[in-house]
């Protein structure tokens, strides 16, 4: 029984080799690269899979769409999947493969600020440096440390924090209970927001949730005895639904005796269903646009394509970054396409310089990076839970 199976495998392998061999002979067009690879990096499994899995699907779809449109002058782009489980050590191991392979031209991701900060040194010191375009890393240090490889399509914490603080004050906040979820991202953001509130003489109380926390009874009692009129929760999302359900069960009803402002993951309409309606009336801000919530035909077409690819209910599980992940992949792929091909090769150095100089067409319109690698004109979007939808009620440009 073993023998035939090996034969089949050998046959498959030889076909595969033949296919590869065909690709490596110089193509008809002189500018056809031999091989183009990019990597998607993020927490695709593990406790943050709820934000990573949707982003990965978006990147896979972006590569598929790009290849369907002809790839890089006829060469199909191969996508490497690097599941870093939001730890920098794993990220370094994965990235080492890309650093040593000159046909790996860039990374979409990493998604977590902590991972970018823990692994960027290696990417920067590679020769040539390996560029990254993150769809969600918002900690200010990501682009403030002067690393030329760092780019991101999302807005920064120091734009979001003050915008969040100002929004609550404009809405009449008197006392704010500020919570984070113990991550580089959420702690950094909550710090920025709390600082803004304190600078404007709004009393705050600071607390933390744990990743995956379901029981918030202790916290809710503290909110009550502090007498907060606003709860601010910097979080990627999975903790919000049980939190607001229990607030309601313990007598704090959003829109009546308490207001709620969440962040990135919390503009997800699935929280309304998951909290059985307790979330209605809550606000959330996001550093990236939700393609389903913005106007524009490209975004709407993308949402339709995503549903067609992954099923009608897939958007509910897509997480907060399925739009920006597609956008980041579009940016990286266009930068690669714009780079010159010399002897069947594209240099990472060229990709990096095109990332810095070009404008890119994305589902959210034209996008360009400033000298640090931050996106110009990146906005903070304020959503509110109305009925069963999250609706954009305000856009603050960052």
């Amino acid at each position: 029984m073993v023998q035939p199976r090996i034969l089949v495998l050998a046959a498959i392998a030889s076909v595969g080799l033949a296919a590869c061999g065909g690709g490596s002979t110089p193509g008809t067009a002189a500018n056809k690269p031999d091989k183009v690879q990019i990597a998607a990096e993020g927490p695709f499994t593990g406790d943050q899979a709820s934000i990573g899995a949707g982003a990965l699907r978006a990147i896979q779809l972006a590569v598929k769409d790009f290849n369907k449109a002809g790839g890089v002058n006829g060469t199909q782009v191969q996508l490497l999947i690097w599941d870093d489980q939001h730890t920098a050590q794993t990220a370094q191991t994965l990235q080492a493969k890309g650093i040593s392979d000159p046909t790996v031209l860039g990374i979409v991701g990493p998604m977590n600020s902590g991972v970018v900060l823990g692994s960027i040194q290696g990417l920067q010191e590679a020769s040539p440096p390996l560029p990254l375009v993150s769809e969600s890393a918002s900690n200010v240090k990501v682009t403030d440390q002067g690393n030329s490889v760092a780019h991101r399509v999302n807005a920064r914490d120091d734009a979001q924090g003050p915008a969040d603080g100002k929004f609550m004050i404009d809405q009449g906040a008197k006392k704010v209970y500020v919570m984070d979820a113990k991550s580089d991202y959420s702690t950094g953001l909550a710090d920025q927001t709390e600082k803004y509130l304190k600078d404007h003489n709004i009393p705050t109380m600071r607390d933390q949730a744990k990743a995956g926390q379901k029981d918030f009874a202790t916290t809710i009692q503290k909110i009550k005895s502090f007498g907060a009129d606003w709860v601010y929760f910097a979080d990627e999302g999975p903790e919000a639904a049980p939190f607001v359900s229990q607030m309601k069960a313990q007598g704090l009803t959003i829109g009546q005796n308490i207001q709620f402002l969440g962040t990135d993951g919390e503009e997800d309409s699935s929280i309304i269903t998951a909290s059985q309606g307790s979330y209605v009336g809550a606000y959330a801000t996001n550093i990236t646009a939700d393609p389903a919530g913005v106007s524009g035909s490209a975004a709407a077409a993308y949402v339709a394509a995503y549903k067609a690819e992954y099923g009608a209910d897939s958007i509910g599980q897509a997480g907060p970054f399925y739009g920006s992940a597609y956008e980041a992949a579009q940016v990286l792929l266009q930068a690669i396409k714009n780079s010159p091909v010399k002897n069947g090769k594209i240099s990472r150095a060229d990709v990096l310089s095109h990332l810095g100089s070009d404008s890119f067409n994305t589902i959210f319109g034209s996008v360009k990076f400033d000298s640090k690698g931050d996106v110009t004109g990146g906005g903070i979007y304020v959503y509110q839970a109305k009925g069963t939808q999250m609706v954009v009620v305000k856009q603050v440009s960052g």
Binding site: S50, D215, Q221, A241, T273, Q276
Partner: protein, 308 residues
């Protein structure tokens, strides 16, 4: 001091609710350890699967926030499927992953258990959902909120506590009052001697796994109805906490696991309420270390088996 007095009763109640869940899961660790002297690290994930089974049944029976059959019947069905399903899963894990290693060195089943745990988490994440799944508790159980003096708690919270305590009492009676419980205790004391006395040890182990896993499944149902949200990672931290509770109470000791669970829940709630949420887990594991240093056999003295 005023702040303490005003908030203490509420935080105590919060802690008892949380602790009763820890206790229910801790019982599974302790039962299996008592019989086999192995740490079933997949136990927290059996609880997670139970919660997902309950959520699945609830999802089938509730359309547009209205139950298609009487709510009481729906809840009973959820319990049946989750308890039965988790129980069978536990038995299956024992057959496939642990029995072949029963006479291997102690490290082998421990590693297998961690493997089973990772498998269950990944399987649910990939095949079911990476995002939290809703348990439509609004349509299934009354959302009454109880007010007693200054203490506020939802009816589902009280139900969680009462059901957990009732199950623990029933389990205690099963182990200490019935013939089969006697066989379990005999197996725990000396597996070989029990075989000589005509006890079918394999069957005892199978039933122990079923009971422990069924309790976890029931914990999953109660949790789902109270918190309305389940996710593939929910068994991980809860499993570790429950294991801590079992060790604090004295692993292998059934009453110890119950008390350990309740103590841990109350400790966590009080630390969160009066010191800082940041230090909740620090204090939980500090308690573990303290107990291990001062009373390595756990708070409640002689374990069920004295081989440990």
């Amino acid at each position: 001091m005023d702040y303490f007095l005003q908030n203490f009763p509420q935080q105590l109640v919060n802690g008892l609710e949380l602790g009763s869940l820890y206790a229910l899961i801790a019982l599974g660790y302790t039962l299996i350890y008592g019989i086999l002297e192995m740490l079933n690290f997949a136990h927290g994930d059996v609880y997670m699967v139970g919660a997902f089974l309950a959520a699945g049944v609830a999802g089938l029976l509730v359309h547009n926030e209205v139950a298609v059959i009487p709510a009481g019947l729906a809840v009973a069905l959820m319990m049946l499927v989750a308890v039965g399903g988790a129980g069978l899963l536990g038995v299956g894990i024992e057959r496939i992953a642990y029995r072949p290693l029963r006479n291997a060195n102690r490290l082998a089943p421990l590693i297998t258990a961690i493997g089973v745990s990772l498998f269950l988490e990944s399987a649910v994440q990939v095949w079911v959902s990476p995002a939290p799944v809703l348990v439509p508790s609004n349509a299934l159980v009354p959302q009454t909120v109880l007010h007693v003096a200054s203490v506020v708690t939802p009816l589902t919270g009280l139900a969680l506590f009462v059901a957990a305590v009732a199950l623990m009492v029933a389990l205690d009676a099963f182990v200490f009052r019935t013939r089969f419980g006697g066989a379990m205790r005999a197996t725990a004391q000396d597996r070989e001697a029990a075989t000589f006395m005509g006890i079918d040890v394999d069957r005892v182990i199978l039933v122990t796994f079923f009971v422990a896993s069924a309790l976890a499944g029931m914990g999953g149902v109660l949790f789902g109805l109270r918190y309305a949200s389940v996710d593939f990672f929910m068994g991980y931290l809860l499993g570790i906490k429950a294991f801590t509770a079992a060790v604090i109470g004295g692993i292998g000791n059934i009453r110890g696991a119950m008390i350990g669970g309740l103590l841990l829940g109350v400790l966590e709630s009080l630390v969160g309420g009066f010191i800082s949420s940041q230090f909740q887990d620090t204090f939980v594991f500090l308690a573990l270390i303290t107990v291990l240093l001062i009373r390595p056999q756990g708070l409640f003295g002689q374990p069920l088996t004295d081989r440990a």
